[in-house]
């Protein structure tokens, strides 16, 4: 099998959590999930709470063991965390003892023996995320949106094959969130970077995703694969224009409908 750089293959992956940690019997969180992305594609995992989106993302990152099936990135099988799969968490993860600049440079610093040679890359990403004036600031002095930008720049500067993001904009206000979506899309398209992200936000999913995997509730399965192709690349330019496209409204209400069904199913299950 010849695999291109940045390709993601999730092949019939299942996840079984042993129940000892939460005083529960072993439970199946993911049941035979498959999902592929080619280089430069943006994949979105969407679905009701508890359907296993984070679990799948963490398995791709190598932070969670794979119970069955296999995951490959750039043709290499995932067995543990590595620098080829950068991760951005929902919570703030800037290292508080490092300045903005040092945070962004962290990956490069630990991975290269020659220090100081990566100044250009760090400068470039600081510039792109608009934090160059804050390079000497500590994370505590930044707003939530700025800290999340640092986390994204830190992951990007390390030049991973694929960028993984778990509800990266979840804690941000709508305006910042919208700016960040455009910012990340801009960088990702320029670098031709593969992205896999989790979101709860349907609008975000349609705006950013080339391919949306809609998960059904527990055990998580891919209920439907959705590819928002309408509007071409132009739908990324302007969110207002995107929403004006009739196809957008159709897709949004279809996803909303699925959300409702899954929510009802989940409630029936727990009742």
């Amino acid at each position: 099998m010849s695999a291109e750089f940045g390709e993601l293959h999730v092949e019939s992956v299942s996840k079984r959590y042993s129940g000892n940690r939460r005083n529960a019997p072993p439970r199946l969180a993911l049941d035979s999930v498959s999902f592929d992305l080619s280089r430069g594609g943006v994949g979105v995992l969407l679905g009701p709470s508890g359907c296993g989106k984070s679990t799948l993302l963490r398995m791709v990152a190598g932070l969670e063991t794979i119970s069955e099936g296999r995951i490959t990135v750039s043709g290499r099988e995932v067995t543990g965390p590595g620098r080829d799969r950068g991760m951005v968490f929902q919570t703030y993860t800037s290292f508080p003892w490092l300045t903005v600049e040092e945070n962004v440079a962290y990956g490069l610093r630990i991975n290269s023996s020659a220090t100081g040679r990566h100044g250009g890359v760090v400068d470039y990403f600081l510039e792109r995320i608009g934090l160059a004036p804050f390079r000497k600031a500590y994370p505590d002095e930044l707003s939530g949106g700025m800290r999340q930008r640092v986390a994204i720049a830190r992951a990007l500067a390390n030049q991973p094959d694929i960028l993984l993001m778990d509800e990266p904009f979840g804690a941000l206000d709508p305006e910042t969130r919208w700016q960040m979506q455009e910012l990340v899309l801009g960088i990702v398209h320029k670098e031709r970077m593969t992205v896999l992200m989790v979101t709860h936000d349907i609008e975000e999913a349609i705006f950013m995703g080339d391919r949306i995997a809609f998960f059904s509730h527990g055990p998580g399965r891919v209920r439907e694969l959705i590819e928002p192709t309408f509007g071409g690349d132009e739908r990324r330019l302007d969110k207002a224009a995107l929403k004006a496209i009739p196809d957008y409204g159709v897709m949004e209400s279809r996803i909303l409908q699925m959300m409702r069904e899954e929510g009802a199913a989940a409630r029936a299950q727990t009742a």
Binding site: A61, Y106, D140
Partner: protein, 274 residues
């Protein structure tokens, strides 16, 4: 103090209401003035013979005499040396153990059952053993001070290291950090400010064990001086010794507070917010 009337804010009592720096200093000073005033009054009011209950002014004068005429500084240095050496040894022992226990549950599962019960054994109970094994010299006293803090140090360090957020560790892992890089560059590094705080707090505990250590067969040290003074019923010297211990403890505390402030500029803002 005279201040423009517009800026004088009354000190109000309300839950969790922050107190300004000036107010804090004023209140703190007031507490001391009150305490010393009461002491001075009680001591000079002939409630008890002054020989048994000297006023603060006399204790200060005695402290001065001790330093100027009786070479008290040698005792102070001897005590500082004992606390310093024992604490260094205890810390050097507790640091790797605590960090590994905090970072790896497997290590904790192995050592915890061993370490935890030791915390409940009072260090002074070991004095007879230490006397038989190590004699009455300095080694025995340093060993006692060591035993007084080492198990608490291990547990406190382990607890603190365990509280390093998992997301920071996982972020480093996904950036390609090795186990060693995560352990030293993230887990240990993130714990550093807390380690300085733990040091500050446990030094205070070590300091309280000092007297117990120096009461037994000792010729020098603040504790020995106090015991000597007791034999001659020099209450003023006993009190001067106690005051000296308090002052040194306070200075050590301030030193470590300053270290924390100077070494971790990024942690300043947060501590102000909390």
């Amino acid at each position: 103090m005279l201040r423009p009337p517009t800026r004088t804010k009354p000190v109000r009592i309300a839950f969790q209401r922050p107190v300004s720096v000036t107010q804090r200093i004023l209140l703190g000073t007031a507490a001391w003035v009150m305490f010393l005033g009461l002491w001075q009054y009680a001591a000079t009011a002939d409630l008890a013979p002054q020989r048994l209950f000297p006023p603060p002014t006399q204790v200060i004068a005695t402290l001065e005499t001790l330093f100027l005429e009786q070479g008290f500084h040698a005792d102070v240095l001897a005590s500082l040396r004992r606390v310093g050496i024992s604490f260094l040894v205890a810390f050097a022992f507790a640091l790797p153990l605590g960090v590994l226990m905090g970072a790896f549950p497997v290590v904790a599962a192995f050592f915890n059952p061993l370490v935890s019960p030791f915390r409940y054994l009072p260090a002074p109970a070991f004095i007879p053993l230490l006397l038989m094994w190590l004699g009455a010299g300095d080694t025995q006293k340093i060993a006692l001070l060591f035993l007084g803090v080492v198990w608490f140090l291990v547990t406190l360090i382990a607890d603190h290291v365990r509280s390093v957020r998992m997301e920071l560790i996982e972020t480093a892992l996904t950036l390609g950090a090795s186990t060693r890089q995560v352990l030293i560059g993230v887990v240990f590094r993130a714990s550093l400010p807390g380690l300085v705080d733990i040091t500050r707090q446990m030094l205070a505990v070590s300091w309280t064990y000092l007297i117990i250590a120096e009461i037994v067969a000792t010729t020098d040290g603040i504790g020995a001086m106090i015991m000597r003074a007791r034999r001659f019923v020099r209450v003023d010297e006993v009190m001067a010794g106690i005051v000296m211990i308090g002052i040194l403890g306070l200075l050590l505390d301030l030193l470590f507070r300053f270290l924390h402030w100077a070494l971790f500029p990024y942690a300043r803002q947060r501590s102000r917010k909390l």
